[in-house]
Symmetry: C2
Subunit: 378 residues, 2 copies
């Protein structure tokens, strides 16, 4: 039986557009014949006409409702799950609004502004028996799944000792002070916007590849930040994490994860790998931006062994967000509250790392967006 998921889209910006475009792709083209997706409602906080414009622009089928408030959206009985596509400053308030209304939630990354907010959302989801997931779409790419499998099996690159993961965007001219990328009122800066992907690669390789019972948070978190002169947001953040074991689990050794992110340089100019997963027998190199990897290459140290490449296909010309949408649909179908591939606990550990990195470097967002109070008008 094919299970259909009815989506409500909260916010109408660029990321919402990209997500919905992927939702519209035929799941069969990616061999997903067990699930389908429908957009049943879209909301803009500014006006229903803006939501209607979004529906019209994307030619959404089935006459979805257009709302001018998020409250109306989360109370629509024809919506199963709310996709939250606001800036991360707003995630806690928006996700909580949806959960309190009894709706399942897929919430864009970074999950929240701090770990305290993340924990409250998780508690509410657990109590109310609702699905909740941070929308780290990259984790659901077939490429990511394969890379994690290679690491878990251990044979091809051996024991993983070090991971270098970068997302940097070569915008040396900087951003306008009003840009959400550098606006502290929107929790702007490299860390939450780009660094989450560097951390995703460190965590999905050095942490998530261990059996859940053996996953341990970093034993040390060290970091350094350069601030964007005009606003004080971080523009260049480097994080050194030490994990107490290597993968496959070996607690004689620690492993190092180096997560970097910067506005001013480029993580992968002209085909340079943006991520290197270094094991005792070889390494996996990831090509393309950390958020949308397009190829991996397994490079054995032993020169007699062949270098192996695998390119990621994006069926039906998709951006790659449908794989996470499919995961959400299957979790809902199966009555799961969380995805094993992006579990609550791991989202919280990553938020705790970001909290600590900000603490070490004196990066504080305005009180109302750091607050766990609800509701707070932002």
């Amino acid at each position: 039986m094919v299970h259909n998921t009815r989506w409500g889209i909260l916010a109408t910006g660029g990321i919402a557009k990209a997500f919905v475009k992927d939702l519209l792709k035929n799941p069969q083209t990616r061999n997903a014949s067990d699930i389908t997706h429908t957009v049943t409602a879209v909301a803009s906080s500014s006006s229903s006409s803006r939501a209607q414009e979004f529906i019209t622009d994307l030619s959404l089928p089935g006459m979805p409702k257009a709302y001018g408030s998020y409250e109306e959206l989360v109370n629509d009985p024809n919506v199963d799950v709310i996709y939250i596509a606001t800036p991360h400053s707003h995630h806690y308030q928006n996700a909580r609004l949806a959960l309190e209304a009894g709706k399942h939630v897929l919430c864009e990354k970074a999950f929240t502004v701090n770990a305290a907010q993340a924990k409250i959302l998780v508690d509410i989801a657990r109590k109310k028996n609702l699905f909740l997931m941070e929308a780290v779409w990259t984790r659901f790419f077939p490429l990511s799944v394969q890379v994690r499998d290679i690491i878990r099996k251990g044979g091809e690159i051996g024991e993983v000792v070090r991971v270098l993961a970068d997302l940097s965007i070569a915008n040396a001219d900087g951003f306008d002070v009003s840009s959400r990328m550098v606006n502290l009122d929107l929790a702007g800066g490299a860390l939450l916007d780009l660094g989450i992907y560097s951390l995703t690669w460190v965590f999905q390789t050095l942490y998530h590849t261990l059996p859940p019972s053996q996953r341990k948070p970093p034993s040390t978190i060290q970091s350094s930040m350069t601030k964007y002169p005009a606003t004080g947001a971080d523009e260049d953040t480097t994080i050194l994490l030490t994990f107490p074991t290597t993968t496959p689990a070996d607690d004689r050794r620690a492993s190092h994860g180096i997560a970097t992110t910067a506005f001013a340089v480029h993580s992968h100019p002209r085909g340079t790998p943006s991520i290197r997963i270094q094991g005792t027998k070889g390494e996996i190199q990831i090509f393309g931006p950390a958020f949308r990897p397009v190829k991996y290459r397994v490079v054995p140290v032993d020169e007699k062994k062949e270098i192996r490449e695998w390119e990621c296909e994006f069926p039906d010309g998709g951006h790659g967000m449908y794989w996470e949408a499919d995961e959400v649909a299957r979790c809902l179908r199966d009555g799961k509250l969380e995805s094993e591939r992006m579990p609550w606990e791991e989202s919280i550990v990553i938020m705790e790392v970001m909290d600590e990195v900000r603490r070490q470097n004196g990066l504080v967002y305005p009180e109302k967006i750091e607050s766990v109070e609800y509701p707070v008008a932002l």
Copy 2:
């Protein structure tokens, strides 16, 4: 006029052999027509026959003296400069022996075991008007000179914001406990033996490229270490340095240097760059091991600009150590006490970084090799 330098070789191991082989190459093949080198004496601490064997094996011309003690070597009036090729545990004692005897010194890296020892050697050299230099041969490669020039000029890769430099050797099986690589009595471990090259690349790109008056030690030093189970030496060390400016000097921004070193993984498998010097307009990638780079590649971010490659030639089949020997010869000829390309102050700052990294990770060598006392029999 051609200036000849008369070398005394202190110790007869692999690195001494490599150095002397390069000394024997005809300087004209590398367009050095202003200087020549002669080996006038060789000493082994164990026996003169071992020194003689070294002379015979390498067919050293001019009948150099063979000594069975370092004391005899440093007192030979036909020697201008002593090349110290012992393990780094012994550098302080050996270099001091030579300086006290009034000889100029070229001392293998790591310079000493700690910064306190380095400072004393520098003080003695200054007082006695003697030349002294840490033998970081890589700095004198035409490739290194070119790379520093590109950074200084700033045009090709813009403002340098981040440098990733690694030397790791893919010896996952580990070393025998008696190996000097892991023997704490010889200050063994990744940091002093391999990490010095990672730090060399960070320093020669982010620090040395500034005018001397603007060079500032790292504003933060953060690090993490994995210990070799059998001996407690470090087998995997990662260092995150923050410098207060970028290069060319811009103190609105900081820069990050990430120096890594490990036994278990490979820094540059199958042609992967081992060093990335990341600027706002592009990056310089260094190929080959960090100690003996063979190629650099300038990768502009702008896809319309060509990628530029330059390969290092090693005239007369040399290993690449003659360029530092030529620098020593020219400094001696010109009456200089230190080389501008590897100044005392920079060797000391790097030793201070290594001291701090060891302090952060509880890595202590035996008291007699950490000692600044002299003489101490090791």
